[in-house]
Symmetry: C2
Subunit: 118 residues, 2 copies
Amino acid sequence: MTLPHPNTDQISLPIVLGVLGDPTRLAIVRYLASKQGVPLNCSQFLDFGSKTNLSYHLAKLREAGVTRAEVVGTNRMITLRRADLDARFPGLLDSVIAAAGDDPALPAVGGHDIEIHA
Amino acid sequence: MTLPHPNTDQISLPIVLGVLGDPTRLAIVRYLASKQGVPLNCSQFLDFGSKTNLSYHLAKLREAGVTRAEVVGTNRMITLRRADLDARFPGLLDSVIAAAGDDPALPAVGGHDIEIHA
DNA sequence: CCAATTGTTCAATAACTTTTGAACTAAGGA
DNA sequence: TCCTTAGTTCAAAAGTTATTGAACAATTGG
């Protein structure tokens, strides 16, 4: 029950750029980045679209190699493939996330920041 | 006879990413970057598509704010809006161009490098 | 003026993308 | 086992994008 993901060296630049060119998917990526590697399940993205629609967009992100989805019981835990993307396209993800953060035309990322407990 | 271009602050991240997500347009951008700011006319991109098709893709790039097109006689001289893109989305263009350069799945940029004359 | 060069516009078509609801599967808990 | 939760799949509809050839406009050079 593992889902198909491209290997790091199979990640394609035009496909990644095309996938990030959709506002819904860009919002998902920003939200994942704001969670600093903590896996999220699909329901936590419901602000960005309907359940079916998220299934579609999350599949696109996964197939492009931008996210990883791990099946845990009845959940799919989603993470950003930050290390893989950095290895393949150094600096790209950071500049996209920074650019999205500065763009007032894009909605602010909702939810709460991760709390660091002592 | 000047063509419409977005202002720097009107350049939208998802639109830029979507526009760069097309292999033909990515090839055009790489080629422009390899020319280090020297303006090129449309005919110099004929390797990447037919005349009509290039007209379409170059309009997309211009409307997204990725390139600038200046009418000079019967030519449109095209340049990358490097400074504007760097101001709006720091590091983005450089990482895209670097990533494209490293990707063996993408065709190598043709033509000749700029010669620096003493 | 005439012809060549450069590039656009238009209409048609094909292909792909996004979105939706209904039906479905798979796992977990009572 | 039955119900709930989580998410997928399917088919349809709507919208968008890419590609093409034919016709067009504008400028330059002879």
